[in-house]
């Protein structure tokens, strides 16, 4: 069981909050498709004998590639890897790229079976604040087309905590999501990452800053409403109906192995994590000697810390038994000792050997994780 991630860095314009590696130029489009196919072939041994169960086109905006180009890449993967027949194959997309024809073409001619659409909000002033390409009309139309074409496994992104997003508008965004009966939602609190446009604009007081209280309020509404509509909050920012959990992303959260292709893509084989160069030109001209930007071999405590930080965010939680079996009693003792105050303060729920965040605890996941960390 392993996943493949493909980073398609093209974007028509950069969203103000985005800190991923993206490029606005299509100059290297052909070179890039060639290069990523080459990378897929040259790194075929990275995951050993692991079978592939998920493939994920992320970005950037993978929907800027044509269906033919996506298929070329998928064919290369199928030629090199052992891909399970019912694998989850996801395409991230932006509403302005995917018209009815594109969607129909995709449905009919490609094995892609899951669509993730970056809606973010159904209101124009929010989309403007975020510097998205599309407008609210386009957002709705695109969901309708996707459903019409017959993509059942569908997810959308919604961002909350935007200064322009009132409580009523947030409730309205959620209501539209429920009304479309979409089985999966990724919902993020707007975060100001350093060195993004948003960071600069807020510091220069051109844009309103994020109000923490409002974000918390939106988060509470989100938790309450999704629960009421039978979605499981299986990861802090992810909500799904039964059977529609993201298999690919679950690999990240459950410590599974994955290989990432494309500039800045990360790979992990259970022992080390590495990432590719973050520059399109460098990537297209790279070979096995200069593709990797950095590699880290994880120590035992680093592996433990990663287990804590990822598993704590999920509904599967941290399992003390797992810690004992994998890391030994030094770690399980440390875990037990450090987690008790959080149980007492109602941030952690203990069921048998499994510890999960309560709704109140979800807002403090980072602080709790770092307290539980093991230091060398």
């Amino acid at each position: 069981m392993a996943g493949i991630y493909l980073h398609i860095p093209f974007c028509k314009q950069k969203c103000h909050y985005c800190n991923f590696y993206t490029t606005g130029s299509l100059k290297y489009r052909d070179d890039f498709v060639k290069a990523i196919k080459l990378e897929i072939q040259s790194r075929k041994d990275y995951l050993g004998s692991n079978k592939i169960t998920t493939i994920y086109f992320g970005g950037g905006t993978p929907s800027m590639l044509s269906v033919e180009e996506l298929n070329e890449i998928l064919e290369t993967i199928y030629g090199v890897y052992d891909v399970e027949p019912n694998s989850e194959i996801t395409l991230e997309s932006n509403p302005d790229d995917i018209d009815f024809e594109y969607l129909a073409d995709l449905k009919k001619h490609s094995p892609i079976n899951r669509l993730s659409i970056g809606i973010q909000s159904f209101f124009d002033d929010d989309l403007k604040y975020l510097h998205r390409v599309h407008d609210s009309k386009r957002a709705k139309k695109c969901i309708e087309n996707t459903l019409k074409v017959g993509f059942e496994n569908l997810t959308i992104d919604l961002i909350y905590g935007i200064p322009t997003l009132t409580n009523d508008k947030w409730t309205e965004n959620l209501k539209l999501f429920f009304d479309y009966n979409i089985p999966h939602l990724s919902s993020y609190s707007l975060t100001v990452e350093p060195k993004t446009a948003l960071d600069v604009l807020i510091r220069k007081q051109r844009f309103a800053n994020i109000d923490e209280k409002q974000s918390i309020k939106h988060f509470n509404t989100l938790i309450e409403q999704t629960d009421k509509n039978s979605y499981v909050n299986y990861e802090i920012s992810n909500f799904a109906k039964k059977g529609f959990y993201s298999k690919h992303n679950s690999i990240y959260w459950l410590g599974g192995h994955y290989i990432g292709f494309g500039p800045s893509a990360h790979s992990y084989n259970g022992l080390s994590r590495q990432w590719n160069v973050m520059n399109m030109k460098k990537y297209c001209n790279s070979d096995s000697s200069n593709l990797i930007k950095e590699k880290e071999v994880l120590s035992e405590s680093q592996m433990y810390n990663e287990y804590i930080l990822t598993s704590l965010r999920t509904s599967w939680g941290c399992d003390l038994e797992h810690i004992y079996n994998v890391f030994g009693d030094g770690y399980s003792e440390h875990f037990h000792k450090t987690i008790i105050p959080f149980i007492e303060s109602g941030k952690i729920l203990k069921r048998g050997s499994v510890y999960t965040l309560t709704n109140a605890g979800k807002l403090f996941a980072d602080g709790i994780a770092s307290t539980l960390f093991f230091d060398i």
Binding site: Y5, Y188, S189, L190, T191, E212, K213, S215, I216, F219, E235, I236, S237, N249, Y252, W253, Y258, G260, S264, A265, H266, Y268, R273, W275, E296, Q302, N305, E306, L309, T310, R313, S345, K362, L363, F364, A365, D366, G367, A369, S370, T371, F373, D375
Partner: protein, 577 residues
């Protein structure tokens, strides 16, 4: 400049020459300052005649003025080195007066003449005004290029007298410095005024009244070179199996056990530290290690004093006494660099005399050591007489600063049309906080400052407590003048609000005099601490971020239910940041 003299006389070969040869501590080289005195012997041939010159390079900072005074006492002449770009500094004057008092031959040198912004005419005027020499006597030189070094050496030969004294008299030698060597113990540096010393002699240190055998004596070249005998006028070292630096006091006199000199060399003082602060291990488990580190440091630096103390907030640590703030900073840095000790230093304070109802005088080094209010008749605090030299443009704001610090202007003298010397009496307790930084900033770095302790005066001092969530934090208590307490309490609270990170609960910061709260701030609780996204590439980044956070938490101390970072304990020193 010392480097150039060593180079020109061939004492150090070019191969061995690195910048600041004599300053062997990293801190000295990095900061470009001299902390310890350094002595070295040079040979110089002048008109086919060989001369032996002994050079002592001394610190300039006021914290070390006693050491400097003993070095001056060991010499016949002094190079008055004045920066041609800066002019006479306050500390130059006090060291100069010391030299004149000791009848030293003064050779004025105008340094940094290679720089474009040198002002030779103006600075020469200042020097002539100060020491009354002729303009031609001032030697233009550059420690950077070596310009003028030959003239300096010739001038030393011509002007500085041969050492006086009588080799046939009983031994009388002045200790002007000591160093610690991990193999040989304490090595004392001395200058012989009368008599001679031979290897193996039984000697006595007059003031400490301790007796030793001179296991090894010698002269101070670039390395120590042992000799069988040293005579009047010689500068040398003695190794006699001394284990701790406390036994060797700078200013003490060495004489023979059997044939002692009649009197000790005058000027000896038991230097008392004036600034005190608590030093605590960041990790309470490191207490014993900290003790061992401070002990070792003291071997090197007898002016550092320490005694165990405990704090409700910080656990076990030491109350350390320092010569001044620079000294304190250096000790803290050396603990970190040389011993890898991560420490928390508490608010510095001066030494107070508390006069009780029964008219006893108690010396208090720590606000929390203050007797109960009802037993106190009054408190006296140390006062200094200070000299400030500044360009006249800044005189207004500087006087205001001194008055804010409860200073009293005693005198104001124009050294030239544009330079003024102010004499101000001030409480020492006011300058240990932020006086020097403020002085430098309002004078754009030009004002210089020098002081000496002038005595004790009664003052309206009260103890200001800081409370975190209602709990008094003893390590943050200060003794402060009543008139300044309200303003000071307010500033401390608001600075602590910046320095203490938000935590799980609201934190109330209060300043109190007794039971009366005089200032308050609140740090709002963290309401949200979670990153939105966590996918493949984010895991490494996020793990590193949280690991860093965890490290930061480790450097904090739990006080009640509040995590307080190291730097918050030094809040008073950060009020102007």
């Amino acid at each position: 400049m010392a480097d150039r003299l060593l180079e020109y006389t061939g004492t150090v070969s070019e191969r061995d020459l690195q910048a600041q040869v004599l300053d062997d501590m990293d801190i000295e080289r990095e900061r470009g300052i001299t902390i310890k005195s350094h002595a070295i012997q040079m040979d110089y041939v002048h008109n086919d005649e060989k001369f032996v010159l002994n050079l002592i390079d001394t610190p300039g900072h006021v914290d070390f003025s006693y050491e400097v005074s003993r070095s001056i006492a060991a010499c016949e002449g002094a190079l008055l080195i004045v920066d041609a770009t800066q002019g006479i500094q306050a500390q130059t004057i006090s060291n100069l007066y010391l030299a004149i008092e000791n009848d030293l031959e003064i050779i004025p040198v105008l340094n940094k003449m290679d720089l474009d912004n040198a002002m030779p005419d103006e600075v020469k005027d200042q020097i002539v005004d100060l020491i009354g020499c002729d303009y031609e006597d001032i030697i233009e030189a550059s420690g950077k290029t070596g310009y003028g070094v030959d003239v300096i050496l010739d001038s030393i030969i011509h002007k500085v007298p041969y050492p006086k004294g009588d080799t046939n008299e009983p031994l009388q030698a002045l200790i002007f410095d000591s160093v610690f060597n991990s193999f040989r113990g304490i090595i004392a540096y001395f200058r012989i005024f009368n008599g001679e010393i031979k290897k193996g002699d039984k000697v006595k240190f007059v003031n400490t009244e301790r007796e030793y055998e001179a296991n090894e004596i010698g002269v101070l070249r670039l390395d120590q070179e042992s000799r069988d005998i040293l005579r009047t006028g010689d500068v040398g070292y003695i190794i006699s199996g001394i284990k701790t630096s406390k036994e060797v006091k700078v200013g003490d006199t060495i004489t023979h056990l059997n044939n002692p000199c009649i009197s000790a060399i005058s000027g000896f003082e038991d230097v008392k530290p004036m600034v005190f602060a608590g030093i605590y291990p960041t990790d309470p488990d490191d207490y014993e290690e900290l003790r061992a580190s401070i002990e070792k440091l003291q071997l090197n630096d007898a002016s550092l004093t320490y005694e165990p103390e405990s704090s409700m907030a910080l656990g076990f640590g030491f109350r350390c006494g320092f010569l001044g703030l620079l000294h304190m900073e250096i000790i803290q840095e050396r603990l970190d660099r040389e011993f890898n000790m991560n420490v928390i230093t508490t608010m510095p304070n001066v030494s107070y005399n508390v006069v009780t109802n029964k008219n006893e005088i108690i010396e208090v080094h720590n606000p929390s050591g203050l007797p109960e209010h009802k037993y106190i008749d009054h408190i006296e605090e140390p006062y200094i007489k200070s000299q400030i030299i500044t360009q006249s443009d800044f005189i207004g704001p500087i006087i205001k600063l001194c008055l804010d610090k409860r200073g009293e202007l005693k005198n104001q003298v124009y050294l030239s049309t544009s330079r003024v010397e102010l004499t101000v009496d001030m409480p020492l307790g006011e300058i240990v906080f932020d006086f020097y930084d403020k002085l430098k900033s309002i004078s754009k770095g030009y004002a210089s400052f020098d002081y000496h302790i002038s005595g004790y005066k009664p003052a309206k001092l009260i103890k200001l407590d800081i409370l975190l969530n209602g709990e008094s934090v003893d390590a943050l208590s200060t003794l402060i003048h009543f008139d300044n307490a309200y303003d000071f309490g307010k500033r401390i609270c608001s600075k602590l609000k910046e320095l203490i990170p938000r935590q799980q609960y609201d934190i109330a910061i209060q300043a109190a005099i007794g039971a009366k709260i005089i200032a308050r701030e609140t740090i709002k609780a963290v309401r949200k601490d979670v990153t939105a996204k966590c996918y493949g590439g984010d895991i490494t980044r996020k793990r590193k971020l949280l690991e860093k956070q965890k490290k930061g938490k480790k450097r904090m101390r739990q006080v009640g239910n509040v995590e307080v970072p190291q730097q918050a304990f030094l809040v008073v020193l950060k009020l102007n940041d």
